[in-house]
């Protein structure tokens, strides 16, 4: 176990505390936030994103380091196109988020409750994660010479 591992563990822990304190691990509150046309709209969770972006954006702007403290290089995002996958994927994700009140982070954090709902949700999510790869493997198996 290295210091990098320790920081990864601490980052995950801090992230979970942030989700819990903010209200993101309460799906009813998430649904109330998304229910912009409803009679009891609760705008609180917009402030989670504001707080997080304010801190992280300022940090990124001030950071002048050419490489991370405990790694050889930054593992920066490598997709830049605004394409069908981006928009279609985001649209599907949103439908699922609104239907459950869970996005991936709060769902993983809530696993510790062993509530049946979150166990079922995460099972579906993991199937969704491996789905595209299973499909690619099946396609490759069908096309000769692949």
């Amino acid at each position: 176990v290295t210091r990098a591992h320790g920081v990864a563990l601490a980052s995950g822990l801090l992230f979970a505390l942030g989700l819990g304190i903010s209200g993101m691990t309460n799906p009813a509150k998430v649904i109330a936030f998304l229910d912009v046309a409803g009679p009891n709209w609760d705008s609180s969770l917009a402030f989670v994103m504001l707080g997080a972006i304010a801190v992280h954006a300022v940090f990124l702007r001030l950071s002048k380091r050419e490489r991370p403290y405990l790694a050889d290089a930054y593992d920066a995002p490598n997709r830049f196109q605004i394409d069908t996958d981006l928009v279609l994927g985001a649209a599907l994700f949103g439908l699922g988020w609104g239907a459950s009140g869970f996005c991936p982070g709060p769902a993983v954090v809530s696993l510790v409750t062993f509530a049946p709902g979150v166990l079922v949700f995460v099972t579906g999510m993991l199937l969704g994660f491996v789905g595209p790869n299973l499909l690619r493997r099946a396609q490759a198996a069908r096309s000769p010479g692949a």
Binding site: A4, H5, V7, A8, S11, G12, L13, L14, F15, A16, G18, G20, S22, G23, P27, K29, I31, L34, V36, N40, S43, S44, F47, G51, I53, V55, F59, L60, S63, A71, A73, Y74, D75, A76, L86, G89, A90, A91, L92, F93, G94, G96, W97, G98, A99, G101, C103, P104, V108, V112, T113, V118, F121, G124, L127, G128, F129, G131, P132, R137
Partner: protein
């Protein structure tokens, strides 16, 4: 009905922003939960050449595993100190399986979720993330609206 709670929302958001900054500054990685978790499980389903996130180096895998372990430890801490913060979903189990699948496949296609696109991507000024976030917030609101009006699912 839920109560307006901007203070705790901002405080939690600040912690999330600090976490993302820590993970980037020290490990050089984006704190996107769907990418981290999918990066652990998706390669199990197919060889690396079919995996969009081809980075399956042992070092990356162990960092992802520890980040997830941290999430679970944090969840355990919340659950033991303030269990009222971890609330079950009000939606029926049958709906949650399909919802989870949509969240899984959708975030894989678009390359991020609320954290990767919504927080990290927007913070770095990525137009892709802004488009993704606008899209998923819009369809999430639509999803909630349809379930409330058509099926009478309470929020």
């Amino acid at each position: 009905m839920t109560e307006f709670s901007p203070g705790s929302a901002i405080l939690g958001g600040v912690l999330i922003g600090l976490s993302a900054s820590l993970f980037w500054a020290f490990n050089g990685k984006v704190a996107g939960i769907s990418g981290i978790v999918a990066g652990l499980v998706a390669p199990l389903a197919a060889p690396a050449e079919f995996c969009p996130r081809a980075d399956s180096r042992a070092s990356t895998r162990s960092l992802r595993a520890l980040f997830v372990l941290g999430l679970l430890l944090g969840g355990g801490l919340l659950w033991s100190l303030e269990p009222a913060l971890l609330v079950p979903s009000p939606r029926p189990i049958s709906l949650l399986l399909g919802a989870g699948f949509l969240v899984g496949i959708g975030t894989q296609l678009s390359g991020g979720c609320t954290s990767g696109h919504g927080v990290c991507g927007i913070s770095r000024g990525a137009l892709r993330s802004l488009v993704a976030t606008g899209t998923f917030v819009a369809t999430a609101a639509l999803s909630v609206f349809l379930l409330r009006t058509l099926l009478g699912a309470g929020s």
